[in-house]
């Protein structure tokens, strides 16, 4: 399972593409009607793309809403940090699945509460909650792609013991 660098790099490239596309035509100073930009068309079936619920760049709304943007950016940020997490021997919470479920429920609660008028969420609050939803699943992979220093030491020790046994 360890050192699956090609898979790590593939996901990194795909996420960079997704995030760049999600930022919309404003990032490239496109001047056409935003509804017809390829970035918006690509995300058409995946996000409501409500301009009131999206960030704007250079006078153009992003191709996804602030929550979806948070999810993609959170995942990419977590993915970029995976090698660093292994390096600092980061210990993920013992039950990431429960944390993930909690984050999903908080997001659903936020959506329902806003729909029913209990509170008014904002661009930033949706971005932050989305970011949490994107970031948390990455913790599942904190030990899958890169060996932590601790594990490398264990491997080294195991090899020496085996050699002595022979």
């Amino acid at each position: 399972m360890k050192q699956q660098v090609p898979l790590y790099l593939l996901i990194l490239a795909l996420m960079l593409f997704i995030v760049t596309t999600a930022l919309g035509g404003g990032l490239f100073n496109q001047s056409g009607l935003w509804q017809f930009e390829w970035q918006h068309k690509i995300f058409q079936n995946l996000c409501h793309q409500n301009t009131l619920r999206s960030f704007w760049i250079n006078g153009q709304p992003m191709a996804v809403c602030s929550r979806c943007l948070g999810i993609y950016i959170g995942f990419l940020a977590g993915w970029l940090l995976l090698p660093a997490l292994a390096f600092i021997e980061f210990q993920a919470p013992s039950d990431v699945k429960t944390v993930l479920l909690g984050v999903i429920l908080i997001n659903l609660l936020d959506i329902v509460g806003n729909l029913l008028g209990f509170w008014q969420n904002t661009l930033v609050s949706r971005l932050v909650l989305g970011w949490l939803m994107g970031w948390t699943p990455v913790l599942l992979f904190s030990r899958d792609f890169f060996k932590s220093k601790l594990e490398s030491k264990k491997d080294h020790h195991a090899r020496i013991t085996t050699d002595v046994g022979k």
């Binding site: 399972m1 699956q4 898979l7 996901i11 795909l14 593409f17 997704i18 009607l33 509804q35 017809f36 068309k41 690509i42 995300f43 058409q44 079936n45 995946l46 996000c47 409501h48 793309q49 409500n50 301009t51 009131l52 619920r53 809403c65 929550r67 979806c68 999810i71 995942f75 699945k97 959506i111 729909l115 699943p137 599942l140 992979f141 899958d144 491997d155 195991a158 090899r159 013991t161 085996t162």
Partner: protein, 192 residues
């Protein structure tokens, strides 16, 4: 060593049933949701606002189609009780995304026989909505022309195919990998 790994790969059960089941379920869900949003737009009164009841639906169904990969890996892990590597989970997710796209396209083509006027009615309703907007006439006409062209293009099979495979493929690849991690059994550790 490589041979034994290859043998292990070959001994693993096929993932096509899981891909097919998840692809079919999420293809139907995605198609049904798009159908609901189109008919809601057709039957809505023109308000002049670019966002209406259909956008409300969009908020709820945001990203739904991305979870097919997770269902497929859950089905695979439960059905076959076989070890599931991240790479295999990613592959199952990717293929599920492709399957969702194909199912959605087939259903939308079938629906054009059931209700051949739907696309035209949808375009008419959207144009009526734009006409109710408080915009200069020239700008309004430009928006209407581009919208009509874009909506017709949305029902183009090749466009649906490449956009669907690209986006559903990538997102389901990610959820397939997450699913492999959550539901998959770990391979027996052969290292010392």
């Amino acid at each position: 060593m490589q041979e034994s790994q290859q043998t292990l790969e070959n001994e693993q059960p096929s993932y096509w049933t899981s891909v097919g089941v998840a692809g079919l379920i999420f293809g139907i869900i995605t198609f049904a949701l798009s159908l609901i949003s189109i008919y809601a737009a057709i039957n809505a009164e023109p308000t002049g606002s670019p966002f209406s009841a259909t956008s409300l639906l969009g908020i709820v169904v945001c990203l739904v189609a991305a979870f097919g990969g997770m269902l497929a890996t859950w089905h695979y892990a439960n059905e076959y009780n076989a070890p599931l590597t991240l790479g295999r989970g990613a592959l199952i997710g990717l293929l599920t995304g492709v399957c969702i796209t194909i199912v959605t396209i087939i259903l939308s083509q079938i629906w054009q026989f059931i209700d051949p006027d739907m696309v035209q009615q949808w375009i008419d309703a959207t144009v009526a909505n734009f006409e109710a907007m408080d915009l200069p006439e020239e700008q309004k006409q430009q928006i209407i022309d581009s919208t009509v062209e874009s909506m017709r293009d949305q029902y183009n099979i090749f466009r649906q195919l490449w956009v669907g495979i690209l986006m559903y493929g990538i997102l389901n690849l990610l959820t397939g990998m997450i699913g492999a991690k959550i539901f998959g059994k770990k391979e027996a550790d052969n290292t010392i």
